[in-house]
Structure formats: structure tokens, C-alpha cells
């Protein structure tokens, strides 16, 4: 009905703010004398650093051959990684059976990738996980289906790092939530215990917890009673990580306004329903970034297993370096190990950002959900 008026009305265009590459460079890199100096200095630094690194990493590097060829060359010795990759990835697992840990890792990665999609979060996913874990356990331990039994003491490398990390995360997360809820409990005994536990563990380094689990804990057990070292290490990682998760969860719980509890109460929801349906979904969403921070920490912490003589990825790398024929290639070895850790940790960080985006219900503009 306002057609005539709006036809005459000129629509004011937003002024153009983008002025091409040169304009951008001038506006962002050379907009003041100081900025210009910093830009030039950085360019000089990159010029000095990048070409030699590329030379070492790629152009002069040796990709196959014997140690002697590596020593003759200027570049990186990737032949060393090629020679040792199976040991670094799988440790002392029987050489001819290393397809078993390889398959285990592939199964684990597949189920993790499958679990990324929130549309797959249903009952079937639980069955898939149970099946995958059973398959992995059978593959790793052997002893049935014609597979040669392999003691866990020979497990090592990437599978061990992944198992311990994922086990640590899966165990510590619910335990952390329980501790956080306990810390806010009105029941004084529970509250006191949770505070004591959280503060105690947060006050000691992981190494001491690992030592306790591997050295002191067996002393407390009755004669002849042995608990698997791997399980003890797993328990130590879980018990160590949970208090940190708990404190993060507590922060999330505090961020939920009182009105949410009151609205739930006025709908006659009980304590458990309020937590499960109203409070935790919101609190856990808020704390995705710091939670993932601690999850990434678990992956990195798993490298401390070497001090209780478990051969995680970093420890197999170190062990590979002790081969007297291949001495002196530690840079390459550590770059390789770092790359694997980076891939694992970056995938987690990347996924957490995606999850945050998907769970964001604030406004239309920021809505990018997969389901309708």
C-alpha cells in the first residue's frame, strides 16, 4: 500500500569499505611508521627463516636409504622415520601381527568420525561403540579367533596413546560432573569430600599421581594381588583429570541464572530432572571451550606414561632414537611425533568449535544447525 512512496524513496547503499589488495595492505600493514617498521622487520625475519627450513625439510632431505646417505646429506633424514615408523606407531607389538593395532586404530578413528555427527547420537551409536570396543579389545589382546595372545605390556605407540587418552576423557568427564555437583551439594559430607578431593589433586602434579598408582598403590594391596599396570595408569589419568573438569563444570553451573532453576521448579521438575533437562545441557555447552582445553591436556599428559615405563607414542619415539645405527636424527623423530599429537589435538579443537556453532541457539543470524 506504500508502493508509490517506496518507489520514489532512494535506497541508500552501504558505502564500499573494501578497497582491493593494495588498499588492504596499506590500511593494515603500513598505516603508521611503527607498523611499517614492524611489517618490514617481520618480512625480513621470514625471508631469513623460511627458505633454509624448506631446504632442510624438503629440498635437501633424504627419503630413503641407509644412515650413511642421511649423514652425507644436508637435509632432514626422513629415511629414519620410514625405517622406524612401525616401531614408533606400534612399539613392541609382534611385528608380523601389527595389522592388529593398525586395524584397532582405524576402527577407533572411524567410530570417532561417525560420532561427530549429532544426528548419529542415538541408541544405535551405543551399540556401535560397544561393538567397536569389543573388536578392538579382541584385536589387541588376541587369544581367541585364532589370534595369538599379546600381553598388554607389549602394547605401545599410537594405540596406547589413543586408548589412554580416550579412556581418560570418557572417564574423567562424568566423574568431573559428579564432583562439581557434589561440591555444590547441600549434604555436608559429600560436599566436604568433593572439595577435599578436588583441592588435593589440583595441588599435586600428574607425575606424583602416576608414581603413586604404579609404586605406592601395589604396596597397599595384599600379597600376590596384581592390578594391571595399564589399568592403574588409566585410573590415575582419570582421577587426575576429573577435578580439573569439575572446576570447569562448576563455572558452567554458576553461569546458569537462578531463573532457570525457578522455572524448572515451578514446572514441578525434581532435582534430577532439572539437572538433566535444564541445567546441564546449558552449562556443559557453555564450557565446551575450557573442557576441550582439558581434553587436549589429557592427550598431552598421556606422554607422561613413559615415567612408569609404558610405551606411549612419545616413548616409542624416544626408544627408536636409541638405535645405534641411526643415532642423531632426533629432530626428525620429534617433528614426526609432534605432528601426530598435533593432528589428534587439532581435530578435537576443530570439532569443539563445530559443536559450539551447532548448539548455538541464540539468534537467527548465528544459527547454523544441521537438523531442521
Amino acid at each position: 500500500m506504500m508502493a508509490a512512496a517506496s518507489e520514489e524513496e532512494k535506497i541508500m547503499e552501504r558505502p564500499i569499505t573494501q578497497i582491493g589488495v593494495l588498499g588492504w595492505i596499506r590500511a593494515n600493514l603500513f598505516n603508521s611508521p611503527l607498523n611499517s617498521i614492524i611489517t618490514v622487520g617481520l618480512l625480513y625475519f621470514l625471508w631469513k627463516v623460511i627458505p633454509p627450513f624448506v631446504n632442510w625439510f624438503l629440498i635437501n632431505s633424504v627419503w630413503s636409504g641407509a644412515p650413511a646417505q642421511c649423514r652425507a646429506a644436508d637435509g632432514a633424514c626422513w629415511a629414519f622415520i620410514r625405517e622406524k615408523i612401525r616401531f614408533i606407531l606400534f612399539g613392541f607389538f609382534p611385528y608380523e601381527d601389527q595389522w592388529r593395532p593398525l586395524t584397532s586404530v582405524l576402527i577407533l578413528v572411524s567410530i570417532l568420525i561417525y560420532s561427530r555427527n549429532r544426528r548419529h547420537w542415538n541408541r544405535r551409536l551405543i551399540y556401535f561403540w560397544a561393538l567397536s570396543l569389543a573388536a578392538i579389545l579382541i584385536l589387541m589382546m588376541g587369544g581367541i579367533l585364532g589370534l595369538k595372545p599379546v600381553s598388554y605390556e607389549r602394547w605401545g605407540g599410537l594405540p596406547l596413546t589413543l586408548f589412554i587418552s580416550i579412556g581418560g576423557i570418557v572417564g574423567a568427564y562424568p566423574l568431573g560432573i559428579l564432583l562439581a555437583l557434589g561440591r555444590r551439594s547441600k549434604m555436608i559430607a559429600i560436599k566436604t569430600f568433593c572439595i577435599f578431593y578436588i583441592e588435593l589433586i589440583r595441588g599435586v602434579p600428574l607425575i606424583s599421581v602416576l608414581f603413586m598408582s604404579s609404586v605406592m598403590f601395589p604396596l597397599l594391596l595384599p600379597e600376590g594381588f596384581v592390578v594391571n599396570k595399564l589399568l592403574r595408569a588409566q585410573a590415575a589419568i582419570i582421577l587426575f583429570t576429573a577435578p580439573y573438569i569439575a572446576e570447569v563444570v562448576r563455572g558452567g553451573l554458576q553461569a546458569i541464572p537462578r531463573g532457570q532453576y525457578e522455572a524448572a521448579a515451578s514446572l514441578s521438575l525434581n532435582y534430577y530432572q532439572t539437572l538433566r533437562r535444564v541445567v546441564l545441557p546449558q552449562a556443559l555447552k557453555i564450557i565446551i571451550p575450557p573442557t576441550v582445553n582439558h581434553f587436549v591436556g589429557v592427550v598431552r599428559d598421556s606422554s607422561l606414561l613413559l615415567i612408569i615405563a609404558l610405551l606411549d607414542l612419545l616413548n616409542t619415539t624416544k626408544t627408536a632414537l636409541t638405535d645405534t645405527r641411526w643415532l642423531g636424527f632426533s629432530t626428525e623423530a620429534y617433528i614426526f611425533a609432534a605432528l601426530i599429537y598435533f593432528i589428534i589435538c587439532y581435530s578435537m579443537a576443530h570439532y569443539s568449535r563445530r559443536l559450539e556453532r551447532e548448539l548455538d541457539t541464540r539468534e537467527q543470524g548465528s544459527k547454523r544447525r544441521l537438523d531442521g
Binding site: 541464572p257 531463573g259 532457570q260 515451578s266 514441578s268 521438575l269 546449558q282 541457539t361 541464540r362 537467527q364
Partner: protein
């Protein structure tokens, strides 16, 4: 008054009040926020509570569904005396709906999930049935087309109407409104008040804390004026606004009616 319409709902004790508050006291630490409140509310009755801020009016209605604990006296809702017994509290809360100033919708749930949460989990209604009923209430407050959206995507007025529907889905006998239009932009106040007026016409027992005196005049059976934790004066809207008996009431009215 809507006496005839209400008789059907009244059941076996038509004259027995659905809410009885007898000499109730409450303290916040040492601050005596409610000082000897006596109030009876009949079925189908609509009461507007007003008074200066800090007079205890919100606290009073929050004692009716135990969002606040009273320290002395009795609160009896639909024959059940409010005590620390969780089962009783949950039972009373199923009978008493509440709408808040800040809406308090659950931001992580869609509108439909918001309004079905109580029926599904607290009343154990099957999901399909709860959703069908929820859509009817969302229709009634005129936000049915927003059912799949999230609260953050709705205007304040729409959110508050959803909050009303959310309470109604529990099919309460009593509805409490705690300054439900105070946080709204002025142009959205009317759409919420219209829903409340419609609800009043249907015979709902309502206790409304508000400064909307126009609403009080058209809808309330009784206006209750509170100050310093006491009920100073209660009367029919006409008497209350035209012949306020107490000096404090007159002062309050002169401040809010320009």
C-alpha cells in the same frame, strides 16, 4: 463476578478457599520481609497485588509455590499445607503455574520443547499427547507458528506468551504472575495483557503482581496493597482506586497514576 461459570470447577467445597495464608512471616537474614500476612483466595478469584518495590509482594507469591520458604505461619494450597516435604511441594507445584518477569524460558530448547518439558517429565504424559496439548495452548497465546524456533529468536512479548503457555500446559488450578510485563518493551505489553485477560475470562484463579492499574481495574476481583511486608489495604478495584482508605495507599496511587 464470574461466580456461575466458576461453580463447575469448584468441586465439593465451593466456598473453601483454594489458597489460605495464615499469619505468615518471612525473613531475609534479619530483614523482616513478610510480616504477618493473612490472605484467602477463592477458586476462580483474581487478585492483583501492588505496592512499592521492596514491599514483599513478589516474595509473597513466591511463597505460594515454595520458591521462597516461609518461616512462620501457614500456607495451604488446595488443601495441602506447605512444609519441607518434597513430595508435597512437587504436588503443589503441579497445581500452581508461575510466570516470571524475565520469562525464564529454557534457551537451549525449542518453543515446543519448552512447553512440553513439564508435562512429559513431571506429569509423565506421553510425548505425542503432550505436544498436541502444547500446540493447543501455543495457539491460544498466538505463538503456534513459532513452535520450532528457539526462545532467543522471539520478541520479548512472544517469549512471555510462550512462558504463559508453558505454565498452562501443566493445567494448573492457580496461576501466579510476577510483574510479567515489567521487562517488556512498551509496544509488547498489550499482547501479553490480552492473553491474561483471555485467561481471566476463562475463569482461572490468578494472583497477579503488577503495576498495570488498567489491568487491575478490568480484571481483578480484589486489589491488595502491600507496603513494608504487610497487607495495608484490600478492596474491590473500584473502591481501591476511588476511595483509598490509607494515607500510604493514596501516596502510592498518586505516584503511579499521573
Amino acid at each position: 463476578m464470574a461466580d456461575n461459570a466458576d461453580k463447575n470447577v469448584m468441586g465439593t467445597h465451593p466456598d473453601k478457599p483454594i489458597i489460605r495464608i495464615i499469619d505468615m512471616h518471612k525473613w531475609f537474614d534479619n530483614f523482616h520481609v513478610l510480616n504477618g500476612i493473612n490472605l484467602d483466595v477463592k477458586r476462580g478469584e483474581r487478585i492483583v497485588i501492588c505496592g512499592p518495590s521492596g514491599s514483599g509482594k513478589s516474595t509473597l507469591i513466591r511463597c505460594i509455590n515454595r520458591l521462597e520458604e516461609h518461616h512462620k505461619g501457614q500456607v495451604i494450597v488446595d488443601g495441602i499445607e506447605m512444609t519441607n516435604d518434597l513430595k508435597k511441594i512437587e504436588k503443589i507445584r503441579r497445581e500452581v503455574g508461575m510466570v516470571f518477569q524475565q520469562f525464564n524460558l529454557f534457551p537451549h530448547l525449542t518453543i515446543l520443547e519448552n512447553v512440553t518439558l513439564g508435562p512429559i517429565w513431571a506429569k509423565k504424559l506421553p510425548k505425542a499427547e503432550a505436544e498436541k496439548q502444547a500446540m493447543a495452548y501455543l495457539e491460544r497465546v498466538k505463538v503456534a507458528e513459532q513452535a520450532k524456533k528457539y526462545p532467543g529468536q522471539l520478541s520479548g512479548g512472544q517469549q512471555q506468551r510462550v512462558a504463559i503457555a508453558r505454565s498452562l500446559c501443566m493445567q494448573p488450578k492457580i496461576m501466579l504472575f510476577d510483574e510479567v510485563t515489567s521487562a517488556l518493551d512498551p509496544e509488547m505489553v498489550k499482547e501479553v495483557l490480552d492473553v491474561m485477560i483471555e485467561l481471566a475470562r476463562a475463569g482461572m484463579t490468578m494472583i497477579v503482581v503488577t503495576h498495570e492499574m488498567g489491568f487491575a481495574k478490568t480484571v481483578a476481583h480484589r486489589v491488595v496493597f502491600m507496603d513494608m511486608g504487610r497487607i495495608i489495604e484490600e478492596n474491590t478495584p473500584r473502591e481501591f482506586f476511588e476511595h483509598p482508605r490509607h494515607e500510604r495507599t493514596r501516596l502510592f496511587l498518586s505516584q503511579i497514576l499521573h
